[in-house]
């Protein structure tokens, strides 16, 4: 059973008097534990698609099922609860909370979204801190660490809730080449270890090269699909 099933999705925006057709009849399926990238030029609709899959927006038409849930039917509160339990997010600008330490940023979704018991919380965070190589930086605040380190923390935060799906919007856009590769490898390793599906929206050829599935978008439509083979996960 596919993790994501998109059927003839349309998304229109009203900008002043003009209707912008951001997505025009997009359809695809993504299997669990995939490492998939949406690529395309600016304005092609990849971020819009990611927002729809991320339950941050609703399609104008068509159906979108994520983890067996028709996300168009969810209200505001149900959407938040769904995101909290099924999805993880990695942002281009990392979006760590500046008043929380590295440890607390990773802890945030477990504490404020999922109410995970303290012992389990600690165990999960410690494991991810080690996995992303940030254990020795745990007490630092975001303004005390580098961009690459921030993105590693953001990855840990996205994965700590054991989501079925992690959505990453231009995750390497603000990183240098070496750090970007390290981050991509980290995400891939996490996918292998945790069987989490990663979906990216990117211009970055480094990610595109590493992705196992590529959906190329132009003017709101998928113009090409490229699958490199199955994911190697446990």
């Amino acid at each position: 059973m596919a993790l994501i099933i998109a059927d003839n999705i349309r998304k229109d925006y009203q900008v002043g008097d003009v209707v912008v057709h951001a997505l025009q009849g997009v359809g695809f399926e993504i299997e669990p534990a995939s490492f998939v990238s949406f690529v395309g030029p600016s304005g092609s609709g990849k971020t819009t698609l990611l927002n729809l899959i991320g339950c941050l927006d609703k399609p104008t038409a068509g159906t979108l099922t994520v983890a067996d849930t028709d996300i168009a039917r969810l209200d505001r509160k149900e959407s938040a609860a769904f995101r909290g339990s099924h999805l993880g997010f990695i942002f281009q600008d990392f979006n760590l909370l500046p008043v929380l330490t590295v440890y607390e940023n990773i802890e945030y979704p477990l504490l404020m979204v999922q109410n995970v018991p303290p012992a389990e919380r600690k165990e999960r965070i410690e494991r991810l801190l080690d996995a992303v190589g940030m254990a020795d930086q745990r007490d630092k605040y975001p303004d005390q660490i580098s961009g690459g380190q921030k993105q590693r923390v953001a990855i840990a935060r996205a994965l700590v809730t054991h989501p079925a799906l992690v959505l990453a919007d231009e995750p390497t856009a603000n990183l240098d080449s070496q750090t970007a590769y390290a981050v991509i490898n980290l995400m891939k390793r996490m996918r292998d270890e945790l069987a989490t599906t990663f979906i990216f929206s990117t211009h970055d050829q480094k990610i595109v090269g590493e992705a196992e599935g590529i959906f190329r978008l132009e003017d709101g439509s998928i113009v090409a699909k490229e699958m490199k083979g199955g994911a190697s996960h446990e």
């Binding site: 509160k77 909290g84 999805l87 008043v99 404020m112 979204v113």
Partner: protein, 412 residues
């Protein structure tokens, strides 16, 4: 909940200068209200104490209709001995009454044998009067602090005007209820400082001397001043006494007695009410200060953290929890301002007492203002600040909780 407080406090510390400015503004408001409440409350309590404990008593009982004509001191509206007996029984049976003092009041002519003027006099049983209005003795500026038969205590303005000293002989002439005139010589035993309010310039003599001047075979009673064990229970005591005396009716079936608290007898009550109204408006100003400053700072906080709101909303934080985050931030700001305000306000009240501020009020000179700050005042004002801080945070917090994550994440 602890984590929401932790995040709120850290966000407040993140903008230290703004937090400090807002807390300072709230502090200034709290200090102003506390000092004003303390000074005016203490002034009010002191003046009420002076009026009730040196003249009026906490409440008074009269024959029905007497108070309406009290300026004339009408002898025909005195309580007759038989009725007074019934009244005495009722007053003795009332558990809330600490002491009571019957008075025979009348107006007359007062002469030092060379000059004559008019005077209002109270015939009293000295021991009972001093128990009921214990500060009366503190008003005796010259002479002994007792009163025997054949002696009179006169107000200081009269003594100065007629150049009378303690030990001088004077004569009091009065018209009795039948219209005939009688006089009696007295020795001045004491000079009384004037006090604010009705009866503040009256003279005092023994009630049996008063009955003799008025040619009453047995003293009639114009009023009974009553002192309660607990002044704070005044309204309840008035109601209870009214209930007890309601059964005492005349032949026509009308009540014989009427009960008045000091508030109905002294014009200072209106000043006290004005002070209460001013205090109320000062509190309204405090509410406005807290409301505007907290709302302003919270609107700023929400505006500056739109992307953060978008992030936590995207992660799955429920709208109610986002609302709580900002409300708790406002709450913490209110608590901070209230605590600092309480400390500074209490310190200023203490300093006022150490300095010792004196003031004049009407005929009373050099009154020492002793300010006090009741814990209940601190609690009430702190509660007002905190509740208003929470209310002021609600609108910005609600706005934050209703933000669309996608729009918030796009915010630059």
């Amino acid at each position: 909940m602890n984590n929401l407080f932790k995040i709120a406090v850290r966000n407040l510390l993140r903008y230290k200068r703004r937090t400090l400015l807002t807390a300072s503004l709230i502090t200034i408001g709290v200090v102003f209200v506390l000092v004003f409440t303390s000074v005016t409350g203490s002034f009010k309590a002191m003046m009420i104490g002076q009026i009730t404990d040196s003249m009026l008593g906490h409440l008074q009982v009269h024959r029905k209709g007497y108070v309406a004509s009290i300026d004339n001191l009408p002898l025909n509206l005195n309580i007759k001995p038989k009725a007074y007996q019934k009244l005495t029984e009722a007053l003795k049976a009332a558990p809330e009454i600490a002491a009571f003092s019957p008075r025979l009041k009348f107006g007359g002519m007062f002469s030092n044998f060379t000059e004559t003027t008019n005077i209002r006099l109270n015939g009293i049983y000295p021991d009972r009067e001093f128990q009921t209005v214990p500060l009366l003795t503190s008003r005796i500026s010259d002479g002994k602090k007792t009163l025997s038969r054949g002696e009179i205590m006169i107000p200081t303005l009269l003594a100065k005007g007629l150049k009378i000293k303690v030990g001088d002989t004077v004569v009091v002439v009065a018209t009795n209820v039948d219209g005939s005139v009688n006089g009696k010589q007295f020795v001045v035993s004491g000079i009384l400082e004037s006090a604010t309010g009705p009866g503040g310039r009256d003279g005092y003599l023994h009630i049996e001397d008063a009955a003799e001047v008025l040619r009453m075979p047995e003293a009639e009673i114009s009023e009974v001043a009553v002192r309660l064990k607990d002044f704070s229970r005044l309204p309840a005591a008035v109601r209870h006494l009214e209930g007890q005396l309601a059964g005492e009716v005349n032949k026509e079936g009308h009540p014989i007695f009427e009960v008045h608290s000091w508030e109905q007898l002294s014009p200072f009550f209106n000043i006290a009410r004005m002070i209460d109204v001013m205090t109320f408006f000062i509190k309204i100003m405090l509410i406005a200060i807290v409301l505007i400053s907290i709302m302003n700072v919270m609107i700023m906080a929400v505006y500056e953290r739109i992307r953060e709101i978008g992030t936590i909303a995207a992660i799955g934080t429920l709208p109610g929890r986002i609302l709580s985050m900002f409300v708790i931030e406002g709450f913490c700001l209110g608590v901070l301002g209230a605590i600092i305000g309480d400390i500074v306000g209490s310190a200023i009240v203490l300093i006022i007492n150490v300095i010792g501020i004196r003031f004049d009020f009407a005929q009373q000179k050099g009154l020492l203002l002793t300010t006090t700050l009741a814990p209940s005042d601190l609690l009430v004002i702190s509660a007002i600040v905190i509740v208003v801080a929470v209310l002021a945070s609600l609108q910005p917090a609600f706005k934050a909780s209703r933000m669309e994550p996608i729009a918030a994440l796009r915010h630059v």
